[in-house]
């Protein structure tokens, strides 16, 4: 017999997030019920294998002579990341993950071509990023979104071209502290629609 405590919507299963970015950092969060495209965000492309949110930030623990256990702890660093793999490899998407889609140039030809530099450059471009699902709220079939007001494409993607596989760009999104946000919100937040 099923356990009644296993509530249906609270189990975040069978869902993936779509990545939208805005070329200007600190762009305001779109409403959870609104289309991010209407706010100037760009869909970065389909992914393979889902997305993983890593709340990295290990505690440094302190002990003393009078106790066996931890008596204090601090978190000296926080480095949350979201990883996924883009498989929609237009040059624009490819260039965004490396640094900036503005680096893609076109030549009418013939033949017409697009060109993207391999060099990523010294400074990563800052984006506003949104990882959105339209149905993943734990409170019902509503949207949920991770909003990162200032983030970069980190990681070292290594697309592999093989005879029986699909090339993908594994990317690591790392949020930066955005001091224009309220205290505690500097790294972004998670919004879930409830009704």
């Amino acid at each position: 017999m099923a356990d009644a405590n296993l509530a249906p919507f609270e189990q975040l299963a069978g869902m993936t997030l779509k990545l939208y970015i805005h070329g200007t950092a600190s762009t305001a969060e779109p409403a959870a019920s609104a289309d991010p495209i209407a706010s100037g965000f760009v869909f970065v492309g389909d992914t393979d294998g889902g997305q993983t949110v890593n709340h990295a930030g290990a505690l440094t623990k302190f002990y003393d002579d009078n106790h066996q256990g931890v008596v204090k702890a601090v978190r000296p660093e926080e480095d949350p990341t979201i990883t996924t793999t883009i498989v929609d490899l237009t040059l624009e998407n490819y260039a965004r993950v490396l640094n900036d889609a503005a680096n893609v140039t076109s030549d009418a030809g013939p033949p017409a071509v697009k060109r993207m530099p391999i060099k990523r450059g010294r400074m990563p471009k800052l984006y506003t990023m949104l990882f959105r699902s339209e149905i993943a709220s734990p409170y019902g079939s509503y949207p949920i979104q991770y909003y990162l007001p200032m983030a970069v494409f980190d990681g070292e993607p290594a697309p592999a071209f093989t005879k029986d596989g699909r090339a993908g760009l594994e990317l690591v999104v790392t949020p930066f502290e955005d001091d224009t946000q309220a205290s505690g919100d500097e790294l972004g937040w998670l919004t879930a629609q409830t009704s």
Partner: protein, 148 residues
């Protein structure tokens, strides 16, 4: 309407000149040996070199990207093992050279990503037809949507 991987694979095989030379066009999803040639102009003479390809279990599905992936079973027929091997050889050459290609079918253009061998061949004897064959597994992948 989504593309049919098996239809795309067979269309790819049918248009191969070397395989057609070996099989004289006898490539299909089911064999046509034993049919009455008077009733069916497509009947295959017994014995003769031929190739059938059908769906087989065990493929890894694509949950994310809209690809249709499947294992396939190929049966390479011949009057003896040597003839069956020749059909298998033509098939193996196609698989070795596989790369993304657009394949025209009756329902539209399919995008075949890959068609590769998945194991080594196995000789069998079809007792009902009294014909030799080499059975081999393939892996294939196409996109669910037709392309321009």
């Amino acid at each position: 309407m989504i593309a049919d991987l098996l239809e795309i694979v067979i269309a790819r095989l049918v248009c191969d000149a070397d395989l057609s030379l070996e099989t004289e066009g006898r490539v299909a999803s089911k064999h046509k040996f034993g049919l009455d040639a008077a009733d069916d102009e497509d009947a295959w003479q017994l014995p003769s070199k031929a190739l059938t390809v059908g769906y087989a279990p065990g493929g890894a599905v694509d949950l994310y990207g809209g690809q249709q992936r499947s294992r396939l079973e190929a049966r390479c027929y011949g009057a003896n093992q040597e003839e069956a091997n020749r059909v298998y050889g033509a098939l193996a050459v196609i698989c070795d050279a596989s790369e993304r290609t657009v394949v025209a079918t009756d329902r539209g253009n399919g995008l075949l990503y890959w068609l590769v061998l998945d194991d080594s061949p196995e000789h069998l004897k079809d007792g009902d037809l009294n014909i030799d064959l080499a059975r081999v597994s393939l892996r294939a992948c196409c996109h669910r949507n037709f392309v321009p």
